[in-house]
Structure formats: C-alpha cells, structure tokens
C-alpha cells in the first residue's frame, strides 16, 4: 500500500500538468489562481504550521515579489526570469531585515506585527515613484495562459517538495520543537532565532515567486491588488483547514476551498468572503487541527471527534 502511495503524487502532478490541454480556458485561469494560492498556503505552512508563528502579513512577500517583477520588466525592461529573481530578492531581503526583530515577538504580537508590516509596506510602495505610486504599473503582455499554468504548477511542486524535505530533516524537527515549547527548544541547543528567520525566509522566497508569476500573468498591478489583504485570510485558513504542519494539508485545503469559493462566487458576489468567514469560525471550533486530522480522527471516534474538540477547549 505504501508503494502505491508514493506513486500517487507524481501521477497527480502529471494529471494536473495535463489540464490545459484537456479543459477550457476558464478552468485554466481558475487553475492558475488555485495553484498560486496553494503555494502561498504551503509557504505559510513553514512559518505558521511548522514553526507555530502565525503570520498575518505574508502578503507582504507576495506583494514585493509582484512589484519586484513588475518594476524589473516594466521600468527596467529586464526579462521575465530576471524579474522573478529580482522579486524574490526583494521578498527575501524583507524577511531577513524585518524577520529578526519581529520574530522575537510571540503569538498574537507577532501576528499583528506582520499585519502592520504588510500595511506599512503597501503604504510605502504607494508613494514610490518607480513603482508607479498609487496608479500602478503595466507589464509587457504575454499571451499564453498555459505557460503561466505550468510555471505555477512547478512552483507549487517545488514548494511542496521543500516542505516534504523540511518535515523529515533536522531543521524541521527544530522548527516543530520551537512551536511546541520554545524555551525548552533553546535549552536543548536549538538556535531559535536563526531557525525562525530561516523559516520565514523560505516562506518569503516562494511567496515572492508566486507574486512575480501572477504579476506577469495579469499584466497590470497596483498596491491594492499586489498587497491584497484577503490573501492573508485565505492562506491561513486554507492551511488551517487542510492541516497545519503537514506536507499535503495546505495543498488539499487550498484546492478544496478554492473550488468551493469559485462555485459560490458564481452564485452571488461577495459571498466568497462570507463563506471564508464562516469556514474559519466553524473550522476553529470544530476542527482546529485541520482536515487531515479530521480524516484520521473520524476513523477513530466518528462524529464525537468534533464535540471532543469543543469539550477539550471550552471554558
């Protein structure tokens, strides 16, 4: 059974790769969005799921990647590849620069500091000349959604492979120890600051690349869309829903929630956010450990799994 499980993943990836040739344009476009947001969720998983530092501002890295690529291509006339690199550099630099002071904060302080960071960066970019200020930038046009789709898929696979490596590595054990008890982790020899900054930097790297791909794809960016605050909600809730600290949980959560929200969006506008809001509330109350844990827990205790969670955590 185990042997087949390892086959399932490459098969799934291949199937996903074949999508643009067998489905309509709308599905490909939906696919690109879903793949990119899944990458964001997977990135968040590294700092939020594994390390236990719930960032509410990872959109800042996505936004920097977006703007880095846009500035490189629209203002400096570099190639797409160079633009992506530039965007990634910006994201990583931000993580290194702000990571060290902000990661000293615990729990909710950290969360809101990241919120503040994202808001500040967005406001700052809106005043920068070369970034087009409030008006935004227009990138060169490239027709061909298939390329963006495959790139997004490759990015997601890379991010997931990285998380899979982390989960089995000494680095990953360190991150999890930090999450479970940071004081004990320090006393056992883990350089918690360095580990946390590394985790945030890896997350920033993938998030920035996602932003870069997105920028070239939609051709037009401005501060509001690049630093879209709703991204933060989505990447957090998708990871939480799917299973924080697991390898496939965020991907699963992202795909499921994207699909449902897409279906709802076609029924009524704005309902998507209501849906997300309700899902968050219900998920936190009934399944705080995510979908993968529900699957396992359900096998053991059926419907009592949900009430058990309440019983364990209620006042």
């Amino acid at each position: 059974m185990n042997r087949f499980r390892w086959l399932a993943l490459p098969v799934a990836a291949a199937a996903l790769a074949a999508v643009p040739w067998v489905t309509s344009d709308t599905i490909v476009q939906y696919g690109i969005n879903a793949l990119l947001v899944a990458t964001l969720a997977q990135s968040w998983n590294i700092i939020g799921g594994f390390s236990g530092y719930p960032s509410f501002g990872n959109s800042v890295f996505y936004g920097l990647g977006t703007y880095g690529t846009a500035i490189a291509m629209a203002q400096l006339h570099w190639s797409f590849g160079s633009g992506l690199v530039f965007g990634a550099v910006l994201g990583v630099a931000c993580a290194l620069l702000f990571g060290i002071p902000i990661l000293r904060l615990r729990g909710p302080y950290f969360a809101i500091a990241t919120l503040g960071l994202a808001a500040v960066m967005s406001a700052i970019i809106a005043t920068v000349e070369i970034a087009g200020k409030n008006i935004g930038l227009i990138l060169p046009l490239f027709r061909g959604d298939t390329l963006f789709y495959e790139l997004s898929l490759i990015l997601l696979v890379a991010a997931t492979a990285t998380v899979a490596w982390i989960a089995r590595s000494r680095f990953g054990v360190g991150l999890v120890a930090i999450r479970e008890d940071e004081d004990a982790a320090q006393v056992m020899g883990i350089n918690t600051t360095m580990y946390k900054v590394a985790a945030l930097t890896v997350a920033a790297f993938f998030s920035a690349l996602a932003g870069g791909i997105h920028a070239y794809w939609i051709t037009f960016i401005d501060p509001a869309s690049a630093f879209d605050p709703s991204l933060n909600v989505r990447m957090v809730i998708m990871t939480l829903f799917g299973g924080p600290g697991t390898v496939l949980g965020p991907v699963l959560g992202a795909f499921v929630l994207s699909a449902v929200s897409e279906v709802l969006a076609s029924q009524a506008t704005g309902v998507a956010s209501l849906f997300y809001g309700i899902v968050i509330v219900a998920a936190v109350v009934f399944m705080p450990k995510g979908l993968l844990d529900v699957v396992q827990g359900f096998r053991e205790s059926r419907w009592r799994y949900f009430t058990d969670n309440i019983r364990r955590y209620r006042l």
Binding site: V173, G174, V176, A177, D181, Q186, V187, M188, G189, I190
Partner: protein, 245 residues
C-alpha cells in the same frame, strides 16, 4: 584538586526589587555530584536557570571548562554540554515520546547528531535506559507524572551533556521510584556526567551528593562535604528542623 568543570563566582540575580540570588560562589569538579538544597524560594531554581542560560545574571561570573559563559545564549550553552530538566516539566506536548528525546539527540552537545536516523536510534537507547521504551509512540502530554519525569531525564540525557542540572526530579515519587531514580543518576555519573541536583528528598541527597551547597534567601549559608553540611547547625536551623533522635 582537579580543574573544576565549572565554577560560579559572585553570582547575583535581581528582579525588580527582589534579590533572588546573592553573591553565590562555588565550583564543581568533573564527575562530582553536588546537591543544592534549601527551603522553598531560596533561589535554587534561579541558579539552575542562570547556569543553563534561561536567565541572565545581574552580576557575577560563570566559567564552564575554562570559558566565561555568563553572556552566552541558552542554546550555545547547551551545545557546550549543559543540559537541564525543568521543575515544571516541559515536554513537547504534541510530539511523541520518541520525538521528544530525538530533539535532544539532534541538538545537544557539540551541535548533536546531524543524521536524523542515527539520532532516532540514540533516542531509543535513552528511552530503554530510562525505562520508557513501551511508551515510545505515545503523545508526550498523555504521560502520567513519574513517566513525565523519566521523559525529562531522557531528553536531557540524549543531549550527551557534560553537566546535568536536575531540578527536583524526585518530587512526588514513592520510595521505590526514588530508589530507581537514584540508581539512574549514579549510572549517569559512571558514564562521566557531572551532576548538580536540586532536591528536597533528603534520603536521596544523602545517597547521591558528594558535596552540598545550601541556599537560604538567595544566599549561600554552607558548602562542603555532605555529612558535614548536614550536621552544620546553621543548616539545621534554616532548613532541616530539629534532628530526629
């Protein structure tokens, strides 16, 4: 007298307005077992926290293997070979017993094991040593009291420490369990570990400690060989109460 493994000079810790530890000086030789006793609130856990790096001293020096460590962060001290247990036990709750100990093996003295598999094997050995083998795959927060203590031990031991700081590991144990732990500690000393033990259980201290350090209100009121210190009238007064005839 062999060179001390570590020594502490003039160690002082003040919190706002409260002096927890005042001008404590002592040294510990390699493979010694030194007991740290005194009434509750005397500052014993504070001293352990100062040595392990959880707290930073207000004044004083800590020298480990000839090296000043009082400004080093906790993780660097762990890599130098200082391991500790916590009085209020701190397992990694969501992880299994085995994973808990593996952390120690991966990150301990000298930076620990780099290879995850080998760390895993070493962790299993330590679980056997401390008698936790059967509980290997259970969640750490599902363990009962005595097993939690064993886990604290195993985690610290997996780090391969040169100096082990034990904080009231016997509390709440019955006679049989106390004897088991005493034997465990002796075995560790035989393996070459130096140990500093905080304890209230006098029977255990008498059997284990070569020397004793007595604290009262953050100050050191006696230091020396175990049997001498336990007869010292100041110690009896402050801590032991009237001798049973």
């Amino acid at each position: 007298m062999t060179a001390p493994l570590f020594e502490v000079r003039g160690l002082t810790k003040r919190f706002r307005g409260l002096t927890a530890v005042s001008d404590v000086t002592f040294r510990v030789a390699p493979r010694e077992i030194v007991g740290l006793i005194g009434p509750n609130g005397a500052g014993k856990t504070t001293i352990i926290s100062l040595i392990s790096g959880t707290l930073v001293p207000t004044a004083g020096e800590i020298v480990f293997e000839g090296r000043h460590i009082e400004r080093l962060p906790a993780y660097r001290r762990a890599r130098l070979g200082i391991g500790r247990t916590f009085q209020v036990m701190k397992p990694f709750p969501g992880l299994s017993v085995l994973e808990n100990v593996t952390v120690g093996a991966l990150f301990g003295t000298g930076g620990g094991e780099r290879n995850r598999k080998r760390a895993d094997e070493k962790a299993r050995e330590w679980l056997r040593f401390t008698g936790l083998e059967r509980r290997m795959d259970q969640r750490a927060d599902a363990l009962g009291g005595p097993d939690r203590k064993r886990l604290e031990f195993a985690k610290a031991l997996a780090m391969n420490p040169k100096l082990l700081l034990l904080d009231e590991v016997m509390a709440g144990l019955n006679h049989v369990e106390v004897d088991e732990v005493v034997e465990l500690i002796k075995k560790m000393r035989d393996k070459g570990v130096t140990i500093l033990v905080i304890e209230h259980v006098m029977k255990a201290i008498r059997r284990l400690a070569d020397r004793l350090l007595v604290l009262h209100h953050g100050q050191q009121i006696a230091e020396g060989r175990t049997d001498e210190v336990l007869r010292d009238p100041r110690v009896v007064d402050a801590y032991l109460g009237k001798r049973r005839q």
